[in-house]
């Protein structure tokens, strides 16, 4: 692993530790650049949770290598909750439907179906940047 990658790995580990709910995605919550990333944004917005989001596109390959080491997972999106990888779009959606996602995030599962909840304004932190 190069010095640059080691620094990136440390930066990523710090971000995961500092943000209780952190999404690594392609694009931003306002403008997802991949359908899978968009699905996770919609899932998070539907349960009205605050989260940090990191656009992986500017450093896609290095971030793949770093997350492969940290979490044995190298596709994006990746959702971390309290420092643990939860999964990508498929797992997040399954957990949303089963109520496990709300439970993991410590929020109430809304009574409205996700499709209706999407109309609500999203609660999200400003995008985070990797320097």
């Amino acid at each position: 692993m190069s010095v640059a990658d080691a620094e990136l790995k440390q930066k990523v580990e710090e971000l995961i530790a500092a943000n209780p709910v952190l999404l690594f995605m392609k694009g931003t919550p306002d403008m997802p650049r991949c359908g899978f990333s968009m699905r996770v944004v919609q899932a998070l917005d539907s349960i009205d949770v605050e989260y940090g989001a990191i656009d992986v596109l500017p450093a896609l390959q290095p971030l793949r290598e770093v997350t492969a080491e940290i979490s044995d997972w190298q596709t994006f999106p990746q959702l971390y909750v309290n420092g643990e990888l939860i999964g990508g779009a498929d797992i997040v959606e399954e957990m949303l439907e089963s109520g496990e996602l709300a439970e993991a995030l410590g929020v109430e599962q809304p009574a409205t179906p996700p499709a209706a909840a999407q109309a609500a304004p999203p609660a999200q932190s400003p995008p985070l940047q990797i320097e």
Partner: protein, 68 residues
């Protein structure tokens, strides 16, 4: 390919875009018993990794479970 890596697995693959590179797979395998969803997905992704590396597959949506 998935069936070769996970003997006894039942695999159903749907070609979502008609271009055979965006796939959705439902996999039921005895090897998933006791594993988290993350680990179930890791097993399937490891099995199909060569097809991602040679560019045959761009996206794979997964739903995994142990047999009922």
């Amino acid at each position: 390919m998935i069936e070769a890596a996970l003997p006894g697995a039942e695999v159903e693959v749907v070609d979502e875009t008609g271009t055979a590179d965006h796939l959705r797979a439902t996999v039921t395998a005895p090897q998933f018993e006791g594993l988290s969803r993350l680990d179930q997905h890791r097993l399937v992704k490891a099995a199909v990794k060569p097809r991602f590396e040679d560019g045959a597959i761009h996206a794979l949506s997964l739903k995994t479970s142990p047999p009922r």
